[in-house]
């Protein structure tokens, strides 16, 4: 499987992270989105007319939408019954809203993308509060992850844009449940990092481990 990849993109990281956690190897093709604008070349647009990253190519299958890529890579993680799959689909959609708010704030603040920074931060904060409330409920019931006892596509889809919120000027300091969730995800065997999302430091093992 080939992943057209950009190191600074949270969407590309979702695919890399899920593949790493599920033990699948991806051949990544680095794409110089910024400053090179490689994604605007005719060759790239032939593959993905929307000119976005990531793109996953597996044989004849070419996937350009992040939820589709996660569903394809996720296998068992995607749920084994209609209820669980639908629950995850809710969060996959929610994650797209995170990308359009917190992710947008990051692109504006860091790379001068066009848009209204204050608005994106406000909208993103509203979503963070929803996520915090959900995770608080889950943690009260003894669950570390969003939909099930183990991590699912829901967690992987939402995790990157949330963790990178400080890059867009939105602090995560008020959200204790989100921080605990982040720790649970970063503790998973096979976890990989991206710039802005560090691994758990080796000197601070999981309490009780």
């Amino acid at each position: 499987m080939k992943l057209y990849d950009w190191v600074l993109s949270p969407d590309c990281y979702k695919a890399r992270l899920l593949a790493a956690l599920t033990g699948q190897s991806l051949t990544t093709v680095a794409t110089d989105v910024f400053p090179g604008k490689d994604h605007l070349t005719p060759a790239f647009r032939d593959m993905n007319p929307r000119a976005t990253l990531p793109v996953l190519v597996a044989g004849d299958l070419v996937l350009t939408e992040v939820p589709a890529i996660l569903i394809y890579l996720g296998g068992d993680w995607g749920g084994d019954n209609a209820t669980e799959r639908a629950r995850q689909a809710e969060w996959l959609t929610f994650s797209q809203r995170l990308a359009g708010t917190l992710g947008l704030a990051r692109r504006i603040d860091m790379m001068d993308a066009p848009g209204d920074l204050a608005q994106a931060q406000r909208d993103g904060t509203r979503l963070l509060r929803q996520l915090e409330a959900r995770l608080f409920d889950r943690q009260t019931l003894g669950h570390a992850f969003l939909t099930g006892p183990a991590p699912t596509l829901a967690d992987i889809a939402c995790f990157p844009d949330v963790m990178l919120a400080p890059d867009g000027g939105v602090s995560l300091a008020p959200y204790a449940a989100i921080r605990a969730w982040s720790r649970a995800i970063r503790s998973l065997p096979g976890f990989i990092e991206m710039p802005g999302i560090p691994r758990l430091h080796e000197l601070s093992p999981e309490p009780g481990a």
Partner: protein
Amino acid sequence: MKDCWFPVGAADDIPSAPGRETLLMGEPIRLFRKAGQIQACDAEGRDLPVTVAYDHVWTSLGTPSQPIFAIPEAEEPGRRFVPCGHVRVACSPLRAVENFLDIAHFPFVHTDILGAEPHTEVYRYEVKIREEEDEVWATKVRFYQPQAAKAAEGGQEIEYMYRVPLPTASVLYKTCPSKPEAWDVIAIFVQPLTETTCVAWPWMALYDDTSSQADLVGFQQMIFLQDRAILENQVPALLPLDPGKEIPTRADMTSIAYRRWLKSHDYTYGAQLEAQ
């Protein structure tokens, strides 16, 4: 400091008049291309000096007394030039340069790339303010690196030299993994937007025949983005130039010399002095 050169844009990305607005030391300026020439002016329309060097556009609100600093190694044939885009950082422009000069953070911030535990020791190195060139230099810096560059295979001990030719520009030379007798050149050009916000323009001139441009840019962007979160959380936001606010260690010799050099020239935009 107003009379120094500052980077304000990528040379291949300046639109025709009316061009693009940006900030330099709190002042709105405009960059545009006219009759094939890149020009700059301030808010009142006054022309600003412009020079194009190392794939970037440099200007000044004052009158630079010298041409832009030379990087003779960059002229050597066979090198690839890699402008790495820009990243805005909410920190003092001087802090961005100082971070670039620091080696001790490699194992902790760039884990398994530019450093790794337990190889955290910064060996003794030499620091000088070269009077003739009026530059800060650190030489004989050695450090163990798991993946020193995109083209590096496996860990190796890498030698570095650091150089600060302008208050917001720094050039480092490091052992080239594919050509050990030569130096790779990696620079950071920092545009001071305000005293507490800046834009970093990383730039490289490398010997590397194998990596794709996208790989090289991606490698540098990954490194720089790992630094950004650290830079934005440094306290105080302004770089303290008087001793006492922060306690340096032996590994910080370059930083001490940099701060001393800034102070001796009154390069204090983005700095904090005791009197304040």
